[in-house]
Amino acid sequence: MGEKAAYEELEARLGEAEKIIKALRSGQGDAIIGDKNIYLVRLKQMEEALQKSREELEIRVQERTEQLSQEIDQRRSLSKRLVETVEGDRREMAMYLHDEIGQMLTTLRMELEWSGNGTGEPNGLSNEKRERASARILEILNKVKDVSRSLRPGLLDTLGLAPAIRSMVEGFKEVSGLRVHTHCNWLDETIDPEKSLALYRIAQEALTNVAKHAEATEVFVTLIRKNSSFQLSVEDNGNGFNYDELEKDNSDKGPLGIRIMRERAVLVGGDLTVESKIGKGTNVVAEIPV
């Protein structure tokens, strides 16, 4: 092929290539013929399909979010009702123990003591036995009072959170043998009773956990009034444990006691964090807005 012919052929091919590009640019091409395949030109349709599926996805995400939000609300309200039921039951039990059983035991003890006062009733019990029985009843009475108090802290209603917690801590010290220090930087402020009870129960649960699991020797219970919140912290010098903070966001994970404490805090608008490292003790902190 001569040079001129070769040049003309090249020009012809370039001309054709230009036409193809022009047709593609003006959006008039259907399909590109490859060596072995046919490729459909679908840009506009693909864009539209993509846009449509994006819109559908957004709608579905929104619906799902609303659904989840509703589920969370439902669970929260169920939680709240459960807590109210439990507290109600405890109140009733506390009252029953104190009023009925406590009363019966006191009466029994009094009758036992009078029977030794020479009022005329022979009953065959020696003084020693009578005294022992009386002491035994006193023991039982005190235990009943303890249980009643732990079920329903009367001090909470009458004197407030700090005194109630100090009283609880005294009882805890006796039973556990641990050294417990309390510190509170407010005394007289009245707190909403629901929040007060929540903090009391969290402190109670946290101390129970220390006694059961921590193998600690010292515990610090701190109540701090901050600018716009109350903070309760229960810190021990025990074993600590591997608590991954990330797990707290997943409501199905984490030890049950911690989940319950957190739920109590959340129900009154607050939150609970747990810091713990193996060998470095544990610190449970509840923060509740004023």
Binding site: E16, K22, L24, Q28, G29, D30, A31, I32, I33, I38
Partner: protein, 101 residues
């Protein structure tokens, strides 16, 4: 419209090959446009052959067709290719060298 200066006599048949891709939209439009152009401007002189690249892939390759729709004027010469859906009639006629010179 007359057919001046094409090298074709009045009775010479004009052979056109239209390469399409099945039922794709531009291909269908091209088919309709071509029929109309032939009916309106090239009365009775047109022989249209529609080649579906899905069915006759090798013919498309032989003819070096890279894009559909593609219209080839087979005869009378020279061989000319037009790409696109043939919506602009005067442009098509000019490209095929059927326009007023």
């Amino acid at each position: 419209m007359s057919i001046p200066g094409t090298g074709a006599t009045k009775n010479e048949t004009i052979v056109l090959q239209l390469f399409v891709a099945g039922e794709e939209s531009h291909s269908k439009i091209a088919v309709n446009n071509l029929r109309e152009i032939c009916d309106s401007h090239l009365k009775d002189r047109c022989r249209i052959e529609i080649v579906d690249v899905y069915e006759s892939f090798d013919i498309a390759l032989e003819n070096n067709i890279f894009l559909t729709p593609a219209l080839i004027k087979v005869s009378p010469g020279p061989r000319i290719t037009v790409f696109g859906n043939l919506s602009d009639t005067s442009e098509v006629l000019t490209a095929l060298q059927f326009g007023d010179s």
